[in-house]
């Protein structure tokens, strides 16, 4: 009798545990108001305004004067990029910026795609909305929201957008792309109140997608975009049909992760580690801790005193370029720290890099973009969204030079329906900007579409 009761209890408990486990946990959130002062009494203004990036001679004159009056700081001898942006190479970049870079032309390029603004929760949200020019008959376009990170902007996706909206192969999927600027970044208004974190951004973007009439859509993100789109999937798992990320640092260290760090080197098969995983993760102390500490100073100060560190950058274009472009060097490949020119132009053109800097400069958004770190970290790391797994079908693109390497096992801890895990042949943190070749996009698109009949294979 006693044994039977015991067995029944154990089985019951097991079933309860499994049901509990498979029950989709949904992240909860409440509406906010981020505009200046108190929210108005009338209903929200839901109109959408077309927007164009503009510039003026005054803006350029002021920029050039500031560049000309920059007080240079010579780098230490033989220091390359180890102390930050090297001053010798900086002079060349600045000279290009001052004499050759044509901002008006870049503005025209920015305006190639239609920009819009609409007010959500008290702040103006800027976004690009790119519809495919031709849709082959019988196919429907797939709506996709792509979210950038720091120190990037919507411009990161400019190379990617045509590949998604105008595929060269007629058999490919066709996307309708929405690229918003995170509030506080680029042409989106900065929140005026404390507390605007990734969950708020996710909620605002859901509202944006609804306002644009999308009932269901796909989402892609890297850097902060990863967290914002992940939060979107957690907030409304039914609305987000698929999630694609190229960055997924473990949000909550669990037992499997701890074990894999301790034993992974000895028993790689146990944790499904590839040779590349081993190479990137071990020795764990050096690769995971020391390297992270060396590269996370910006994060620490932005997560604590954004207004102190950002003040000068908003006042000095050269300082801003130094601060932002160093990341484009080091995060693309750590080995670039040992190069006199930081390897910047190996993967990017100065035009693209400076356009991104100019988006920060002309909109004066560096401080508000940094505050996003404080809002996300300031509340502690134990936020509800870091505890809830993601049940939306997920694709992960694993770029070899990403800042924090995440083996499949770790990604799976968070993304329970990991449909694809693609190991890329090359590329770093700024994947969308760096690797603009069709093949990688194909992998992205097939990952995004779990229902797609195409076999999903590694692109390289």
């Amino acid at each position: 009798m006693f044994t039977e009761v015991l067995v029944a209890l154990v089985i019951g408990g097991l079933i309860f545990f499994l049901v509990q486990r498979s029950r989709t946990q949904v992240l909860k959130t409440e509406d906010g108001w981020w505009g200046a002062g108190a929210p108005p009494n009338g209903g929200e203004d839901i109109t959408i305004h077309a927007f164009k990036v503009t510039t003026s001679d005054d803006e350029l004159k002021d920029l050039y004067r500031r560049i000309d009056q920059t007080r240079p700081v010579p780098s230490l001898e033989d220091s390359q990029f180890h102390y930050g942006f090297n001053s010798h190479y900086l002079q060349r970049v600045v000279s290009y910026w001052r004499n050759d870079f044509d901002w008006s032309r870049q503005v025209d390029k920015l305006n190639l795609y239609p920009h819009f603004k609409t007010n959500i929760e008290g702040i103006d949200i800027h976004y690009l909305h790119v519809k495919p020019k031709k849709v082959p008959e019988g196919t429907t376009t797939i709506p996709l929201i792509m979210v950038h990170g720091w120190p990037g902007s919507f411009y990161e996706f400019y190379g990617l957008i045509p590949l998604l909206t105008e595929p060269s192969d007629p058999g490919d999927l066709v996307f309708e792309v929405v690229c918003p600027s995170i509030p506080g970044y680029g042409f989106s208004e900065a929140p005026h109140k404390k507390g605007f974190d990734s969950v708020c951004a996710a909620r605002v973007f859901h509202k944006l997608m609804k306002r644009l009439g999308f009932q269901q859509f796909y989402a892609h993100g890297g850097d902060w975009g990863w967290l914002v789109t992940t939060n979107m999937a957690q907030l409304e798992p039914k609305t987000v049909k698929g999630l694609h990320v190229n960055f997924a640092p473990p949000s909550k260290p669990g037992l499997p992760m701890a074990l894999s760090i301790m034993l992974g080197h000895r028993f790689p098969k146990l944790f499904d580690f590839t040779d590349f995983d081993i190479q990137r993760l071990f020795p764990a102390m050096e690769k995971l801790v020391v390297e992270s500490v060396k590269e996370s100073g910006y994060m620490h100060i932005q997560a604590t005193k954004p207004d102190s560190v950002g003040r000068a950058l908003n006042d000095s274009p050269v300082g801003l370029a130094t601060y932002i472009l160093e990341k484009f060097s080091t995060w693309t490949s750590r080995d670039f720290r040992s190069l006199e020119d930081g390897g910047l132009t190996r993967k990017f053109s100065l035009n693209d890099l400076l356009t991104n800097v100019m988006i920060y400069w002309t909109s004066g958004c560096i401080i508000s973009s940094m505050r996003f770190y404080k809002e996300n970290f300031g509340k502690g790391l134990n936020q509800p969204h870091s505890k809830i797994p993601v049940y939306v079908p997920t694709g992960f693109a694993c770029f070899p030079n990403e800042l924090i390497h995440t083996p499949k096992l770790w990604v799976k801890q968070k993304y329970r329906k990991l449909l694809t895990f693609t190991t890329m042949a090359r590329g770093g943190h700024f994947a969308a900007m760096e690797d603009q070749e069709p093949a990688s996009i194909q992998s992205v698109s097939c990952c995004l579409s779990p229902s797609s009949p195409q076999p999903c294979s590694a692109a390289y």
């Binding site: 700081v73 230490l76 100060i301 954004p306 908003n314 050269v318 801003l320």
Partner: protein
Amino acid sequence: MSPPHRSCIFPGCHSVQGDGAVSSFKFPKEDNVRKRWIDFVKRSYCGEFKITTITRLCSVHFTPDSYSNCHQVKSGYLKSLLTLVIGAEPTPSVPGLHPPVPPTAGATIPATGITCSPESVDQTITCELSPLDCTMQRLQVLKETFSGLDAVQQQLAICSAVAAGGILAYLMLRRREVKSIPLGEGWWGAGEKPLLEDDKVYPFKVQTSDEEIKDLHERIDRARYSDALEDGGFHYGFNSTHLKKVVSYWRHEFDWKIQVSVLNKYPHFKTKIEGLDVHFIHVRPPHRENQKVLPLMLVHGWPGSFYEFYKILPLLTENQDGLAFEVICPSIPGYGFSDAPRKQGFDSLATARVFLTLMERLGFSQFYLQGGDWGSLITTNMAQMKPQCVKGLHLNMLNSTRGFKVLMSLMIGPYLPFLVGLNREDVRRLFPFFEKNVWEILRESGYFHIQATKPDTAGCGVNDSPVGLAAYIMEKFSSWTDLSNRNLMDGGLERKFSLDDLLTNVMIYWTTGSIVSSMRFYKENLKSNPNNRIDAKTGIFVPTGLAAFPHELMHCPKSWARIRYRNIYSYTFMPRGGHFAAFEEPQLLADDIIQFVKKVEK
């Protein structure tokens, strides 16, 4: 044939029988009494001796109550010799003759003796025998004692001897651990080191020009502000609404020319050391009769400068009970008017060496040191490099070490502080530990992290924007003076400082363009794990005085400080004040320095 020489066998006692004043006695026959006589002699006798019929011990070694006829003989009533009572034992009682044997219970020494003065029992004597003999004799005694023990006792004795030996060896090693760290060498100028270096000391004056001020004002006028968050206070950094007010004062009321003349109130100098022009001020006290003048070096930190000391200087150079200081305040290379190193690796050890060279060049062979922030590390390194030159080290900030002892006091401290050497004030300042020493430090150390990794990235913009520089520097003067200042819209800046003083410090960074090189000092010091550096593993043996200010970022109790600072003369819980002690509470700090120096001078 002369009769056998019947002198006293006791070493160093030259009494001979028949001297009149003394009597000699044969060794008794009873075994146990005889043994005690022999033991008595053995205690002082080196080498072997044989008891024969002529071996004597004289009356000097016996107390009056050992004799049956003492009183009669002394009064002259009896003319015969002294006679010992049966079982009488010799007693150590002669000055300069008997080795010190602690008087045991029962071995009372009489108030009056025939020849002995009992007051001298405690006096030590010098062994007249060769040290080798002494050792041999003691070994012999040890051997005999040892062989007298049974097997278990022997094993026990061996074990305890080994253990004691181990502990002793460990203590010896610890004592012998490096007490000073090597000076090392370096060359930090641009290019190759020249064969000869100019070691003259040149006077220097701070200067400014209208162009400099015009450029500054232009930049200030063009500053691009962005809105502060509502109710952000100073939590997000320098509040931009208040920054506008500060900058408006800077632009319209602050007079740099007046401040330059304030800076030039004290004589400035520069001299070249290791390829770098090192700037310093050198202030002598006014001459007075009967005044002891002590040289003292004050070393600043980040984001301060030599100007931090301008309020404490007059307090130190004035006469206090016959003491006055001759003060030297250098600028750390890379800070203020000192040259910035052009090569990698200029850390606190290099700075300490440069400053030691500076003191040597100025002709000081012994001096006092004071420092806070980086100054505390630099002065500590100086004391480790040349302990013989540093008479005393006074610090108003120190980093706690890590280790078992610290861990123990963290665990036990909140409950039983006295067990781990913490007092009530320590507990109040340390706990709750995680909130005060981990989270709070994480919140306040972002600047540290970025400066220790990418100083050039962080500093480039700051060097280009005066408003950005002021925000970056002055935020520290708000938060580090009192963390609760972060809740205030104005950061509580003017509660403790005047805007003139704060902006003068900012101007020193601005006009010299030294913010990036000052930030690099963090990277150089943290290139390798600071806990593995030689200075972290070496104790400090010079007299040390510590002033613990209540709002210092991290509190270090005396029991933790003692782990490294082995010779703490004074440890003071200061009643008020924060990180910038000299700038904020000059009188309190000066008083503490003076009381510390007085203690050392005694």
